[in-house]
């Protein structure tokens, strides 16, 4: 007797036909055509060093040791960190902007982990209860026609920003899965009594069908070659080749975004620059720049309708600490890149660096909620209603005046 027939017909209490493991991959029309990439910069990026207010009279005196060399000028007042020089062609092409002096509503305790939770939850605080879902997921809950392919959370970690009721695909570029059909069915069977494991296995098998690993590897090799050409100038500037996990993630994101996927999100670490910031921040910014360039190269013409938002849990102290670094602060910076972005602008009201201008006498005073920029980007990129953004996606947010993030 054929085992599979047996499996389907006679197993007590188990209905394989009802198992989601047998549901075919479904493709639905995406609710919109533009692409959004959200990058979480974990560790607290020093916005003052990334987007340097060199025109401020106090800046040179508070930052003496962390700045080893000057970076390219942006608009006379701001200059970019030299490790971001590879992004200057994007700036010049109108595909790169920044916002300065932004923050989440999180204040005072300056914990990375709470700060990141608040950033990803998109809420004013943690309510003491722990957050239930993330703001990208709430976005998906509020638009029709969303399927699991619409959104991809990429990397090994589970991201709070996409956690919630709406379906989101999660995958890491280094994960592989090749199973016999029999093993697939039996995995579905044994996990039926454990919904969390069952649905994660179901997802793994679904994505394994969606992603043709052999093709993926070939595509990646091809993309890598293209990237190497595109990044030659970048490499000569940073002296580093575009290799590593961040490049793999960006490439995987680009491949998905060229298909059904409309939203991709992942995180980059390495921003907690307590010491020797001149070196450590250059490394992290170099990775960010490679990530953005990889996305651009991998997206091809889709880049034109893409907005990349890179945001962090908090900025760092205005003054350097005693070890040529900076400690946890408040106001920070945010990056916006892509063909859909209104480029060549540093947004935000500059608060100044006089003693009286600082938050708690030590940090850059935030002048705008970082969520407001993300909200305006979603409104203009996807047509999400302002009321939905202020009530459901970012509860309690007042979006304020239109900052012209998107073209």
């Amino acid at each position: 007797m054929d085992r599979r027939v047996f499996l389907k017909s006679s197993l007590v209490g188990c209905s394989l036909a009802a198992s989601p493991l047998l549901t075919p991959v479904s493709f639905a029309a995406a609710p919109w055509d533009t692409r959004l990439v959200v990058i979480i910069l974990r560790g607290g990026m020093d916005g003052l060093d990334a987007v340097r207010p060199v025109g401020d009279k106090n800046f040179a005196s508070v930052r003496q040791r962390v700045m080893r060399e000057d970076g390219p000028d942006l608009n006379g007042f701001y200059a970019l960190h030299p490790a971001l020089s590879p992004l200057m062609p994007l700036w010049k092409a109108g595909e790169l902007s920044m916002a300065q002096a932004v923050s989440t509503p999180y204040r005072d305790k300056r914990s990375h982990f709470d700060g990141q939770d608040i950033l990803e939850a998109g809420t004013p605080d943690l309510n003491g209860q722990g957050v239930r879902d993330g703001w990208l997921n709430r976005l998906l809950q509020n638009v029709p026609g969303v399927t699991a392919e619409t959104s991809f959370a990429i990397g090994r970690e589970a991201l709070l920003i996409t956690k919630g009721k709406a379906p989101v695909s999660e995958w890491s570029p280094d994960a592989r899965l090749n199973l016999s059909p029999q093993a697939e069915q039996l995995l579905g069977l044994i996990s039926e009594a454990d919904p969390a494991i069952h649905s994660a296995m179901d997802e793994a098998l679904r994505i394994a069908q969606l992603v043709d690993f052999a093709k993926e590897d070939a595509e990646q090799a091809k993309a890598m070659a293209a990237m190497d050409t595109a990044m030659e100038s970048a490499m000569t500037q940073t002296g580093r080749a575009g290799r590593g996990e961040h490049v793999d993630i960006a490439r995987f994101a680009a491949l998905r975004l060229r298909e059904e996927t409309r939203i991709a999100t992942f995180s980059l670490g390495g921003w907690d620059t307590h010491r020797n910031q001149a070196t450590s921040l250059a490394t992290a910014l170099g990775r960010l720049s490679e990530t953005i360039l990889t996305l651009k190269a991998g997206l091809g013409s889709v880049w034109e309708k893409t907005a990349v938002l890179a945001m962090t849990e908090f900025g760092r102290t205005v003054r350097e600490n005693g070890t040529a670094g900076t400690d946890h602060g408040t106001g920070g910076a945010m990056f916006m890149a892509g063909g859909a972005v209104r480029g060549r602008q540093v947004l935000g009201t500059w608060p100044g660096l006089d003693e009286a201008d600082l938050y708690a006498g030590r940090d850059l005073m935030p002048t705008r909620d970082v969520r407001s920029y993300a909200a305006w980007a979603m409104r203009d990129l996807m047509g999400i209603e302002k009321s939905t953004l202020e009530r459901a996606i970012f509860p309690g947010l007042e979006m304020g005046a239109q900052p012209q993030v998107i073209l």
């Binding site: 209490g13 589970a158 890491s172 592989r176 039996l186 997802e203 907690d272 307590h274």
Partner: protein, 458 residues
């Protein structure tokens, strides 16, 4: 209440044919009080034993920089490379021994506690060299101190070179000291913040930015001397006094004893008791432990004057720890260990794993599963949240490992129909029993048993 199989899974490293199960909570505590047999059977050199090697590496680096171009530079480069390669073997050795202890030691509770505290006191430095000897830090600062007072454990950690380097304390100098006024030197609040936020009171604890700053100033002087390890350097220490959580420390000439006093107080703080009880209960029992359990644990810990044994005993003797329904997802490393244990892989097969085998069958899979060996992303360690492990990409990593690695480790696999019973025991459910015999081949049958929810949770 107490159940031997549940005890072996929830508080140990799993069950295996031929290894005795714990008989009751008292016997588990007795085993913990007894000398550490596993550390003797599968030794790991402690950090201090590597100091001269670390110094030699540094000297080779300096020699390379100084060597005149040409043959001399080439030779110096060769010497450095080969020394580095040799040093990286410590990582392989440490991993192999940790695996063996988890898989073969009778007292799995001690291993689990070691892993728990190693993660609580994460010192995942990326500094080349130090990166290879994470196990040696654990062997020196953590493992010998997990059965005593929490203050001793905390002190061992905050005075350990690995932690001092990881959280930048070794270069932090008092702002008003001569050294601190020099260009490029001064205060760094990294370790002070994480001691309060992660190691003791917890982020919900009653501390403020002023306390972080004051503790950072008090900690100045804790540093590392090349080739000799930890030292207290009074010239770097900010002259006190410092006010931390309402109490004054130091004043006069800086002394290590002032820091010690503050560490003692932080270790015995009621917020610390609450934080540790909660974290331990979440780790061993469930993401949402019975509040009565954590309250009892915190209370017993405080009553005992901060004795970790009292904390563990409270955990084991409270009914809230013994819900028969397994809730917590087994983290990736523990999954590999309990698989090897359940498969009764011969010790020799682990001892003889080559660096390449370990890369393919251990380091790389752990990374895909989301738990790179001793390298969490930040000082908060790996997640205690089940959701972090039950992900599509993480499970894909587990499935691939479960279907392929057992046959590489064993050569000949057991019959899945027998294995399902020996691995899951009375917990074997009809679906898994069926799947074990319905699989197309042995490898998939074994893989299915290892992937069953009963094996994935504890």
């Amino acid at each position: 209440m107490f159940d031997p199989t549940l005890a072996a899974r929830r508080f140990g490293t799993g069950q295996a044919t031929g290894l005795r199960l714990p008989t009751d909570a008292e016997s588990m505590m007795r085993a913990l009080k007894a000398p550490d047999a596993a550390a003797q059977t599968w030794p790991v050199p402690v950090f201090s034993e590597h100091l001269s090697e670390l110094k030699a590496l540094r000297d080779l680096g300096a020699a390379k920089r100084k060597a005149s171009p040409g043959e001399a530079a080439k030779a110096a480069d060769q010497a450095l490379r080969s020394a580095r390669r040799k040093f990286r073997r410590h990582r392989v050795h440490g991993a192999r021994q940790f695996l063996a202890r988890g898989a073969f030691a009778e007292d799995g509770f001690r291993e689990r506690l070691t892993w728990f505290w190693s993660d609580h006191f994460t010192a995942a430095t990326r500094v080349p060299g130090l990166r290879s000897i994470g196990a040696a830090y654990i062997e020196e600062a953590i493992r010998p101190n997990i059965t005593g007072r929490f203050a001793e454990l905390l002190w061992a950690v905050v005075t350990h070179p690995m932690m001092l380097v990881y959280l930048d304390q070794h270069v932090s100098a008092g702002p008003s000291t001569k050294l601190g006024k020099r260009r490029g030197r001064g205060l760094n609040e990294n370790l002070a913040r994480e001691i309060l936020e992660l190691h003791t009171l917890g982020v919900k604890g009653q501390y403020r930015q002023e306390d972080v700053r004051a503790l950072a100033e008090l900690l100045t002087g804790l540093t590392v001397k090349q080739g000799e390890g930890f030292m207290f350097r009074a010239a770097m220490a900010e002259p006190g006094p410092e006010r931390i959580l309402g109490k004054t420390y130091g004043g006069g000439a800086p002394k290590l004893a002032h820091i010690r006093l503050a560490i003692e107080d932080l270790a015995a703080h009621p917020d610390t008791a609450q934080h540790l009880a909660q974290k331990l209960a979440v780790h061993f029992v469930s993401d949402t432990p019975d509040p009565a359990l954590t309250a009892y644990m915190a209370d017993q810990f405080l009553k005992s004057g901060g004795d970790l044994m009292a904390l563990y005993a409270a955990l084991l003797e409270h009914p809230g720890a013994w819900s028969p329904v397994p809730r917590n997802a087994v983290p990736p490393f523990d999954f590999l260990v309990s698989s090897i244990r359940a498969l009764t892989v011969p010790e020799r097969a682990i001892e003889t794993l080559s660096p390449k085998d370990l890369q393919r069958g251990f380091f790389a899979p752990l990374q895909v599963m989301g738990q790179p060996w001793l390298q969490p992303d930040g000082p908060d360690g790996f997640s205690e949240n089940d959701g972090a492990w039950v992900t599509p990409q993480g499970l894909a990593g587990r499935i691939s490992w479960a279907m392929t690695m057992p046959s590489r480790l064993l050569g000949k696999l057991p019959d899945p129909r027998d294995f399902v019973l020996s691995a899951l025991g009375p917990e074997a459910d009809p679906r898994t029993v069926f799947a074990a015999q319905a699989a197309e081949n042995r490898a998939e049958g074994i893989g299915l048993v290892l992937m069953s929810p009963r094996f994935q949770r504890r």
